[in-house]
Symmetry: C2
Subunit: 412 residues, 2 copies
């Protein structure tokens, strides 16, 4: 008998038949003798309905009241799922964030969890109840309702698993695990049995949107074994754990990619200290996130500076950059939104030389020009023209031996 | 400057434009310098939508979870109204029942308020906030969410007004006050400027469904001045207060009536002690409310026993009564659902003799036969055939001088 925290997202509890299916699943785990805490999101569409109501009232709704409003969505699901469990003869009780109590800071709409009081939950578990907790929400010191921001239910689940020292935190999704790359791009993409927290972080931040990044960070920090599974299909999913020496790690875990980037270049800026800050300071001040940054010296002792931002931020970033260019006396500002980022990710990279050269060779063999390169300890990313994205992903997937064996494809 | 508690029901906050209109009204009171606490219901239709979801899951939903579910409805309204006030430059904060804290017993779906902690509310008011409180809900000793049952928002408003010693508790509705009788039945029905708690109780229980009975009882007990007003029309409404000696009370405040009754008679039961209990005990045990009860002796030293119940309870009550009749060896059981109750209500009745005879005379003059009679200190009720209801109400309204003076109608 073990203690399991299970999280079901908005699609998994999107209507009553799905809530019933989730209740069946939870009841099975309970019947096997496990203690179960279930974390649920709002029924799909409900959060948007509530936000729409708020937007009808106020262009920029009061953050405190926004949290009061949207937190009702998860509360509704907890009640309905508890009823569905009760109908199956499974004792169940709902808890909202304030009742648990999940103490957060007071940053409404994007609060962070500070502390979880697990006493009431432990008592309910000891009394034989399945506890159904509203994800995504908490309460601050002053008793005000807070929310963790979109997708925060994953974080709630991991934080509860950490506080309760659960044996496993299961995140139920609409995919049956984490793949070596997007199966829609590469036919031979394989489900991974295991992946490390670090690899998962690099995959997640690159657009493999299976899990919320904060949840993975949290799980890594508190070493909570995390498993990604499909809500309505059977299967072992993918286990996300600490790196183990004895784990037979292939060099590369997967190929991640992201189309949602745009590239900005400012040419002919003075090659002096403080220039990078002069350029990126105003961008950061405008709350625009910058991803890849590359700087190199041009022929006339001036520097060229290139960085990428989310595609929707491009117009605003470009406007800011043109002002900066005037102030710095730069030669030119240019932008390109038809780019994509492709990354090779794997903890094995640390101990294996030659991953970078193998990557560049594979891309060269299919005639793809690399526009930018960045590297981290377990990841190498390149920016290429968007039109080559699928070709690049397939070439790399094959080159690093990730294709499903049964397919026996050669290297492209 | 005074402290006012204002309550707006589901129809008054039924959509965003109406919530905006309520915000306008609250803002005007605030601008006049009053401290304002607003109690709101769920947007009309929302509570039914949530109950419908629960019924899809469970035939008899878990009461604890039912409360968790439906309490979200009011919470949504508090957030939206707070936003609407903020948009108007009025500082506002929402509070749910648990945050206030409105402590109740643990009788889920029909909890009773035990105690209100008004400290946080007083602090918010002192800080210049309008406090928007979710009606209809509270929290029990164990921190579980409870609800007061349908219409409980009125009770919340009165209880808050009592705790805060508010100068007035204003209940906004879809009528502009309490009338001498139903204006749909009598053209000359007049809005009352004032009415006593006791009169209001007798009127409310008779189907003038302006206010929840519990709320009026509560207001009377704690002497909270209660005012019934129209949500979207200007006007003084009707003030419900303690009986004052100097208040120029007409003998009769109004004519109440109720069509929703049915009559049951059991004939020929033994005229011995304990018979009334033998008959009504099983009816009460089945949670059927009994209204008028009349017993008298028949010619053969047996008693005849007649009582009325809500019309929808008639089939069940009759079934029970037939069993009782067998056990008691009664002669016959009969029922009639085509009856109605008409009542004359007024505290002035206490000091004025002759109200009963005036009532019976007025009915006799228009040829209406009285089936049953019951009296209380400030009310006389008769049961008549339903088809005579309108005729009876008009005759009594006119006989007791309640018709609008401008109409100058003669007595029927």
């Amino acid at each position: 008998m073990s203690l399991i925290v299970q999280k079901f997202g908005g699609t998994s509890v999107g209507d009553i038949p799905r809530i019933e299916a989730v209740a069946d699943k939870v009841a099975r785990f309970r019947a096997e003798g496990h203690d179960v805490v279930v974390v649920v999101s709002a029924m799909s569409g409900e959060t948007n309905r509530l936000i729409e109501l708020a937007n009808q009232v106020q262009e920029r709704p009061l953050p405190r009241e926004m949290d009061v409003l949207v937190s009702t969505g998860e509360q509704v699901t907890t009640a309905l799922l508890s009823m569905a469990l009760d109908k199956r003869g499974v004792k169940a009780k709902s808890y909202n964030g304030s009742q648990v109590r999940i103490l957060t800071d007071d940053a409404h709409t994007k609060a962070r969890i500070r502390e979880i009081d697990d006493e009431r939950l432990r008592r309910e578990l000891a009394d034989g109840y399945v506890v159904v907790v509203a994800g995504f929400q908490g309460v601050d010191d002053g008793g005000n309702i807070t929310t963790l921001g979109r997708g925060g239910s994953d974080t709630t689940a991991v934080a509860l698993a950490a506080a309760l020292k659960a044996d496993e935190c299961q995140i139920y999704t609409d995919v049956d695990g984490v793949y070596t790359t997007d199966p829609r791009v590469v036919d031979g993409a394989r489900r991974l049995e295991k992946i490390t927290f670090e690899e998962m972080l690099e995959m997640a931040s690159m657009g493999s949107k299976v899990l919320q990044i904060r949840a993975v960070e949290f799980a890594g920090k508190y070493n909570v074994p995390l498993r990604v599974l499909h809500s309505f299909q059977e299967g072992p999913g993918t286990l996300i754990t600490m790196e183990e020496q004895e784990m037979e790690t292939p060099t590369i875990a997967g190929i991640a990619f992201n189309r949602d980037e745009a590239k900005l270049t400012i040419e002919g800026v003075p090659d002096t200290p403080g220039v990078a800050f002069a350029i990126l300071g105003p961008i950061g001040a405008a709350n625009i996130e910058v991803d890849v940054i590359v700087q190199n010296v041009s022929h006339d002792d001036k520097a060229n500076f290139t960085f990428t931002v989310g595609r929707s931020d491009l117009p605003r970033a470009e406007e800011i950059l043109r002002q900066v260019a005037q102030e710095l006396g730069a030669r030119e500002v240019s932008s390109d939104h038809k780019i994509a980022k492709v990354s090779v990710v794997g903890v094995g990279m640390r101990s294996h030389a030659g991953v970078a050269s193998q990557m560049f060779e594979a891309l060269a063999q299919v005639g793809i020009n690399i526009l930018m390169i960045t590297t981290s300890e377990i990841k190498i990313s390149v920016i290429i023209e968007e039109k080559y994205l699928e070709l690049a992903v397939r070439a790399l997937h094959s080159s690093f031996g990730l294709d499903e064996e049964t397919l026996e494809e050669g290297t492209a």
